[in-house]
């Protein structure tokens, strides 16, 4: 167990898609027209970006107020090494900017070049994106008011898909995050075993149940599984479903069977495919064997087993696996 656990980059992403409603919808529609609108609070203060409810009284707000595209830096910090997705890829300042006509400040980037070129109280103006779509990124960043505006804006990530000219009722924010994902030492033993065509489970030292894949902790006892157990590639179908519905990314033409396979000697079933017979003929208790892919395609993955197929042996009696359902 002294081997380094397996680790690999994991990149996850999704388009965070949200409806805007009457307040933020009006705000982003105005941005598309290169205008900025705030909203008047119960105490008369103008909030930019607009808020749906007054932060003091919780009253629903609806009186929109146009504000200027010039304003004042309230406070700032320097960003020497911009991160993925930030408004500028060259060093810049993050700032709270209070636009003329507004009483609250908005957070955004100021393209100041160097920290010597920015200070609280500085006057800045909006640098609009070349193409405005109805999104906070229509404000590409802010520039000092007297700065030359010669640099083309960097393209923002895609933020909206809609009909030409249709009002903005939905905004999209792409979220992309990168991780270094690590498997547990127990999972790493199992995955390395698969690369050699072995099915390695582990036994809980307390309850002696055999888990495949092995667990970081036995769900009954809360202790890591330890003793290694090599399992055969034969077992039974405990339960299954027939997939009739097509979906995005599907690799097999429906109908086909996804089943829980309980390997002989294991105490936990895992999900896999049952092919090699008519979907209608799969039964609970059916004996199956792994169909391995060609050896040269093996890696640290359960994908090395293409699917399970019937062995033709008599079915297991229901009582023998009822407690695994």
């Amino acid at each position: 167990m002294t081997e380094t656990p397996l680790a690999a980059p994991l990149n996850v992403g999704f388009d965070y898609t949200r409806s805007t409603g009457p307040v933020l919808g009006r705000f982003v529609n105005a941005l598309r027209e290169r205008r900025i609108e705030g909203i008047r609070g119960s105490d008369g203060r103008v909030h930019v970006p607009p808020v749906e409810h007054d932060p003091g009284t919780a009253e629903q707000l609806s009186e929109f107020v146009p504000v200027a595209e010039e304003g004042t830096v309230v406070s700032w910090s320097w960003c020497p090494e911009p991160l993925d997705g930030q408004p500028l890829s060259r060093p810049f300042a993050w700032a709270l900017v209070r636009l003329d006509g507004a009483d609250t400040a908005m957070l955004h980037a100021v393209d100041a070049g160097a920290p010597e070129n920015i200070h609280s109280g500085q006057r800045v103006r909006v640098k609009w994106a070349d193409d405005t779509v109805g999104h906070i990124r229509d404000i590409a960043y802010f520039l000092p008011v007297d700065a030359e505006d010669t640099t083309p804006t960097e393209s923002a990530p895609p933020v909206a898909e809609r009909e030409e000219g249709a009002p903005v009722s939905v905004i999209i924010t792409p979220v992309h995050l990168r991780y270094q994902h690590s498997a547990s030492p127990e999972e790493s033993r199992y995955l390395r075993g698969l690369a050699e065509g072995k099915l390695i489970g582990q036994r809980c030292p307390a309850c002696e149940k055999v888990y495949i894949p092995p667990r970081g902790a036995c769900p009954t006892d809360g202790v890591p599984t330890t003793d290694e157990v090599e399992l055969p590639d034969t077992g039974i179908v405990t339960t299954f479903c027939i997939v009739n519905v097509p979906f995005l990314g599907q690799r097999i033409k429906p109908p086909y069977v996804a089943a829980y396979i309980l390997l002989d000697g294991a105490d936990i079933a895992f999900l896999h495919l049952v092919l090699g017979c008519d979907a209608q003929d799969v039964k609970m208790g059916m004996r199956v064997r792994a169909a391995w892919k060609p050896r040269e395609e093996w890696w640290t993955s359960l994908e090395n087993i293409s699917h399970f197929e019937p062995t033709g042996e008599p079915d297991a009696a229901y009582e023998t696996f009822a407690h695994h359902l």
């Binding site: 380094t4 656990p5 680790a7 996850v12 965070y16 949200r18 805007t20 933020l24 705000f27 970006p49 808020v51 932060p55 309230v74 406070s75 700032w76 910090s77 320097w78 960003c79 020497p80 991160l83 993925d84 997705g85 930030q86 408004p87 993050w94 700032a95 709270l96 209070r98 609250t104 400040a105 908005m106 957070l107 955004h108 980037a109 920290p115 609280s120 906070i136 990124r137 933020v159 905004i171 924010t173 979220v175 995050l177 990168r178 991780y179 270094q180 994902h181 690590s182 547990s184 999972e187 667990r215 970081g216 902790a217 036995c218 769900p219 009954t220 006892d221 809360g222 202790v223 890591p224």
Partner: protein
């Protein structure tokens, strides 16, 4: 309603990076064993389990489910989870005992901050319409807050270095000679990235007396939240901490564990809690020594309780925060009674 006390605390070694799984389950198994050993309790004695963690740290949905294995959750247990610092899980557990539903509860928080890029991941805590799409990082936002106080004369760079120096072998002038990491913040102003976990056992005071000699009785617990609109807040203050503190009796506290991931935030909290100079601040080192996300706040409560258990403190204040620049704050008062 029964009074509630803290009867046990354990924490994982706080390190820059663990080799373990992204969800951090292995950090929990040993600290559960440790807290059971210390308290003489076992899994069967726990009436309610509650955890704090975040799917965005682990990069997957329902990541806390894998960690439930560390409990040994079969046969089924009574369990809950909050997607924020586990100090808020402790609040939920405190309520369960107050309501008389259970006598004991185990609360845990965990996270592997090193798996992703922490200051960028934390942008997902911000307003999803007008702030998150800009991906402002947590260090930059704290820098804006720090500068507001610097320019208002509420604190100086030297004051910040003095907070940092408490946990290092360097002196203030050495710290001030280091370059900015993100002007106006230097490295020593920023909590380190930490993988870690913590566990606290709560029980009725009666039950706690069988477990520890000096139970840490929770004589007050309050939490409040400030506006999520960063530009509408006075970032040099923490009104939510002030309001939480005003509802509590902090008189006579001799020790405070403050969850301040940035040096200037400790100064904001000391003011908001009106802590006198005689109050010992963060004997554990606080979040500037180790900032395991989603358990650092719970650990502040556990560290304060441990010092009551040991006799080092008679009355302690523990503070936890969650969200950007002290947005949400929870204050707990613990007393030896």
């Amino acid at each position: 309603m029964p009074d509630v006390a803290i009867a046990g605390f354990a924490k994982a070694p706080n390190v820059r990076e663990t080799a373990g799984t992204t969800n951090g389950v292995e950090m929990l198994v040993p600290i559960f064993a440790e807290v059971f050993e210390k308290t003489g309790l076992s899994k069967q004695d726990i009436g309610f389990w509650c955890s704090g963690s975040s799917d965005y740290l682990a990069g997957r949905a329902f990541s806390f489910i894998a960690a439930v294995d560390a409990i040994g959750a079969f046969p089924p247990i009574h369990e809950s989870h909050v997607e924020m610092d586990a100090a808020w899980a402790l609040y939920e557990a405190w309520l369960k005992i107050k309501m008389g539903e259970v006598e004991t509860a185990l609360v845990y928080g965990f996270g592997k901050s090193s798996a992703g890029q922490l200051r960028r991941v934390l942008a997902l805590q911000l307003d999803p319409y007008v702030v998150t799409p800009l991906w402002p990082d947590s260090v930059s936002i704290a820098g804006i807050q720090a500068r507001m106080g610097l320019e208002a004369g509420l604190w100086s760079e030297k004051d910040l270095a003095e907070v940092a120096a408490r946990g290092t072998d360097k002196d203030v002038s050495e710290l001030l000679d280091t370059p900015y990491f993100a002007d106006p913040l230097r490295r020593h102003d920023i909590a380190p990235i930490t993988d870690g976990a913590a566990v606290v056992i709560l029980s009725t005071v009666d039950r706690a007396r069988d477990i520890v000699d000096r139970p840490a009785v929770i004589t007050g617990i309050e939490h409040r939240v400030d506006s999520p609109v960063l530009g509408a807040r006075d970032l040099t203050r923490s009104p939510s901490t002030e309001i939480a503190a005003a509802a509590l009796d902090l008189d006579g506290a001799d020790l405070a564990e403050l969850h301040a991931p940035f040096t200037h935030q400790e100064l904001i909290l000391r003011t908001a809690l009106k802590l006198g100079d005689d109050v010992k601040i963060n004997p554990s080192g606080g979040a500037l020594a180790a900032n395991p996300m989603f358990s650092a706040g719970l650990a502040r409560i556990g560290e304060a309780a441990a010092r009551i258990h040991s006799g080092e403190s008679r009355k302690a204040v523990a503070h936890a925060t969650s969200g950007p620049v002290l947005q949400q704050n929870l204050v707990t008062v613990l007393e030896a009674r």
